[in-house]
């Protein structure tokens, strides 16, 4: 059975990462506590950002050097031609990467073009002013998304397959996912979009729900992936909702925006009202998806910050009372985050369906 093997592999990866990651990251006992605090702070902000390699954990060795354990990922840059190289060349920003005739350096999570010595120049507000090439690297986040995409494809393809094999009855893991698929159809899509039109939005709703949910869950594993807490990702997702909403908008949808009062008033009476109403309605088109992207981003970001801070507290307290307490808190927050992971996916899907419902609405004309 390949699925049993996969499960075992997944289990091993997760458990080893779980037991090794937090301890190796924070177990720098000999340093004074002030340094530990800044290290934890730095680690958290570093974790919240995307990175160029899939780091599992890092530690400081006897020579006071940071050793990173992880998988290097491809860096893809567009700098007068495509530049592809392994992220191991960047050495986590400690040295300059030479690719052909170009030199690149990693600084605060971004790749800049430098000279052979790796000189970085800053402006007065401490922003790097070196040229930054267009960066299309397969980062940790992209790799996680690819992983989730393959997982979803495998999972739901096999679910679809069981229907044909098993005469319309799901088998195995499909028994768990089928009710969720049905829930999205019956409780999210149908009530919000309507019985007639929900079909064409189902694929998006299902994909976005499972995509966000799985990425949220991966974010809770000690692999330390923070994809849905990244504004670029939530922006991309909300943009799709925005595009689908407005491209499938019916005449009634646009009429509702540009003529919200309809035939209930004489046209000359509507003019002063519409000076205010139409800009509000137009703004609403953008605010709706914007709220989606901010909500998901902020929730996941905040969850990660709280959880990691609580884990960090264990190493700051280092006492019989404080550490177990913060462990308990971190455990409780983890459970809540597990719920939040599902809830945020649900809210995103639900609100997307609601907006699609506005776009698809067709009511009899007054």
């Amino acid at each position: 059975m390949p699925s049993a093997l996969n499960k075992l592999l997944l289990f091993i990866v997760f458990t080893t990462a779980f037991f090794s990651a937090p301890y190796s990251l924070f177990a720098s006992d000999n340093e004074p506590s002030n340094d530990l605090k800044t290290e934890i702070k730095e680690y958290i902000s570093h974790h919240l950002e995307d990175s160029y390699d899939f780091s599992l954990f890092s530690y400081t060795n006897d020579e006071n050097e940071h050793v990173y354990i992880g998988i290097p990922l491809p860096v893809i840059l567009w700098d007068e031609g495509l530049q592809i190289f392994s992220s191991s060349k960047l050495h986590h920003g400690t040295s300059v990467a030479q690719v052909g005739d170009n030199y690149y350096k990693l600084d605060h999570g971004k790749i800049y073009k430098t000279d052979a010595l790796g000189t970085l120049t800053y402006d007065e507000s401490h922003h790097t002013i070196n040229a930054a090439p267009l960066d299309l690297s397969i980062t940790k986040g992209v790799a996680s998304m690819l992983l989730i995409a393959f997982l979803m494809f495998w999972l739901f393809k096999s679910l679809a397959k069981t229907y044909s094999i098993n005469k319309g009855v799901p088998a195995g893991v499909g028994r768990f996912f089928e009710p969720i698929v049905l829930y999205i159809r019956d409780e999210i899509a149908r009530p919000n979009i309507g019985d007639k039109k929900h079909g064409k939005y189902m694929s998006f709703l299902l994909t976005v729900f499972f995509f966000i949910w799985f990425l949220n869950l991966v974010g809770l594993t000690p692999l330390g992936v923070n994809v849905t807490g990244n504004i670029a990702v939530t922006f991309g997702l909300a943009l799709l909702t925005f595009v689908i909403t407005n491209f499938t908008g019916t005449k009634d949808y646009w009429l509702h925006i540009f003529d919200p009062l309809g035939g209930s008033m004489k046209w000359y009476a509507k003019i002063p009202l519409y000076i205010i109403l139409i800009p509000i309605e137009v703004l609403g088109i953008f605010i709706k998806p914007f709220s989606l992207l901010i909500r998901l981003y902020a929730n996941m970001q905040a969850g990660h910050i709280v959880l990691m801070s609580l884990i960090g507290l264990m190493f700051i307290f280092k006492s019989w009372l404080g550490s177990p307490l913060s462990f308990g808190l971190a455990f409780a927050i983890s459970l809540i985050e597990l719920l939040v992971a599902l809830l945020q996916a649900y809210i995103f899907t639900m609100l997307s369906a609601l907006y699609f419902g506005f776009a698809a609405e067709e009511h009899e004309h007054h």
Binding site: I76, L134, L146, A160, V181, A232
Partner: protein
């Protein structure tokens, strides 16, 4: 806000969009389409099965009531038949009885008549025989009486004497 914009990674946005749209179309073709079709098919088949079960039950009830009715009718018919048969039997018996009585009466009267006739015949025959016997006897007696002349004369005399002409 400024930090958010400066942190915005174009690469991540690009890949996210590419991966998501790719995933969306692939899943639509290979997963969501078949899954939703299968689920819909199953739902309609369940609905149909339920409806047909209800219809079957209704039919069954109809059939049952039909059966009951037929049974009742059959029972009534049987009873009627039985009753009829009984009355027919009684009728037959009484008719037969009457007929037999009449016949017996008839035979009896015929027999009586025959007896009467026979009796009459026998009586008349007896009368004739007795008459002839009496004539024979009288003849014989007369013959014997009148064997000799003396006697004949004596008798004539006596008869004449008896007859006494006046």
């Amino acid at each position: 806000m400024e930090k958010l914009i400066s942190e915005f990674s174009v690469g991540l946005f690009f890949w996210q969009t590419v991966i998501f749209i790719g995933l969306l179309f692939i899943l639509r073709k290979y997963a969501w389409g078949p899954i939703l079709t299968a689920v819909n098919d199953r739902e309609t088949s369940i609905k149909d099965a339920l409806a047909s079960a209800v219809a079957a039950r209704k039919e069954m009830e109809n059939l049952q009531s039909d059966n009951q009715r037929i049974l009742k009718e059959a029972r009534a018919e049987k009873e009627a038949l039985l009753k009829e048969a009984q009355s027919t039997r009684a009728q037959l018996i009484s008719a037969a009885k009457e007929e037999a009585q009449a016949e017996a009466q008839k035979i009896l009267s015929q027999a009586q008549e025959a007896i009467q006739n026979e009796k009459r015949a026998a009586i008349s025959e007896l009368r004739e025989q007795v008459g002839s016997i009496a004539m024979d006897i009288a003849e014989k007696v007369l013959k014997k009486e009148l064997e000799n002349n003396d006697k004949q004369v004596q008798l004539i005399n006596q008869l004449l004497q008896d007859s006494d002409l006046k």
